[in-house]
């Protein structure tokens, strides 16, 4: 029996990845708690939402959430229920619980997926209309549906009494999502720094550029059977499924402040990444 997890900002083809992994023999892969991304079925793992924001504000709370919702007993129950030998948990909230989950599950391995900041921000920023996958912060002036409002309550935002918190109200959605990208990915790098042998970080772009290499790296790190890209090609949702597509322009068209924050954040993440790699 094995338990592993995949963590990212979201908007990194995690639904597609979960579906592909869930198709492997002996593997059940959950996307945000739902086996094989099937949101019509009962979740296999307890859902996490508000705990995500709390874990960022109060990192010590992550251990309690893992004990309550991702304990070895809960994972064992989920494995027994599914009949699988390996359970893989894939979720946008895993970065905030990465170190706590690795500590609670000494045999678990983690894969962090990091997407290019500009494309993440373009993919996750909504200016108008309901966002069916509200991973990022919407334009502050956009009215939110109840669903978007609930999900936003669980999204990380700057800690109280910090410079970022003071700036937050004046930030655009682009700036907020650059910040979201930076803080989420710093948690992945922190987990790799603490558990270097158990954490693999993959660039999201490799899934497009060299998919078989991407799958081979996942299979090798998690001790899984071979994953054939050809077997899954076209079966998943490896596309931008937002009906309205990107709502913001490329970074060249962003404001000077937005581009400066982008530059600083990318530099900070790349520097940390280079240090642990």
């Amino acid at each position: 029996m094995a338990f592993h997890f995949i963590a990212s900002t979201g908007r990194t083809a995690t639904t597609y990845i979960a579906a592909a992994l869930n198709a492997l023999p002996g593997v059940v892969a959950c996307h945000e708690g739902y086996a094989g991304s099937d949101k019509d079925a009962e979740p296999l793992l307890p859902l996490i939402n508000l705990e995500n924001a709390r874990a960022y504000q109060l990192p010590s709370s992550a251990e309690a959430t893992v004990a309550e919702k991702r304990s070895p007993e809960i994972i064992a129950d989920a494995l027994a229920q599914s009949g699988a030998e390996t359970l893989i948990d894939i979720a946008y909230y895993n970065p905030m619980f990465a170190s706590a989950m690795l500590a609670a599950h000494p045999q678990a391995k983690m894969i962090g997926i990091i997407r290019d900041c500009e494309s993440f921000v373009r993919s996750s920023t909504t200016l108008d209309g309901e966002d069916p996958m509200p991973v990022g912060w919407a334009d502050p002036a956009k009215p939110l549906t109840r669903r978007e409002e609930f999900i936003a309550l669980g999204r990380i935002k700057p800690r109280r009494k910090t410079d970022d918190k003071a700036a937050w109200d004046g930030w655009s959605a682009i700036q907020r999502n650059i910040w979201l990208w930076r803080e989420t990915n710093l948690r992945l790098i922190e987990a790799q720094s603490t558990f270097p042998e158990r954490v693999l970080i993959l660039p999201f772009e490799r899934l497009k550029q060299d998919p078989q290499h991407f799958w081979d790296a996942i299979a090798s790190h998690l001790d899984l059977p071979e994953i054939s890209e050809k077997a899954h090609h076209g079966k998943g949702k490896f596309t931008n499924t937002k009906a309205f597509g990107y709502q913001i322009e490329a970074a060249a068209a962003w404001s000077a402040d937005e581009r400066q924050l982008l530059h600083e954040s990318v530099e900070q993440v790349e520097e940390k990444l280079a240090h642990v790699s």
Binding site: R54, F150, A152, L153
Partner: protein, 87 residues
């Protein structure tokens, strides 16, 4: 800001009324009791959460921040939180 202690029955009543309003039902699947939490009753879900959150703020005159939402997933947690910030 309120100063008197809030009873658990008061909290249940506000939550129950909010859920009835948002679900547009005449009765909830099960009553809101002192042990109730999201999912029980079924009408207390992610879509009604924000209505409950706002109803509590209005009913008890408290200024809630987004970070406080974590305390609003069950009656016991909500009741304890409201009385804690009242002190």
């Amino acid at each position: 800001m309120f100063h008197s202690k809030i009873s658990v029955d008061q909290v249940c009543e506000v939550v129950g009324d909010a859920l009835l309003t948002v679900s547009e039902k005449e009765a909830l699947s099960i009553p809101v009791t002192a042990e109730a939490a999201m999912g029980e009753p079924a009408e207390w879900d992610s879509l009604s959460f924000i209505v409950v959150f706002n109803a509590i703020a209005e009913a008890f005159g408290v200024e809630l921040e987004d970070d406080d939402a974590i305390h609003f997933t069950s009656i016991p947690a909500m009741h304890a939180f409201l009385n804690e910030i009242a002190e």
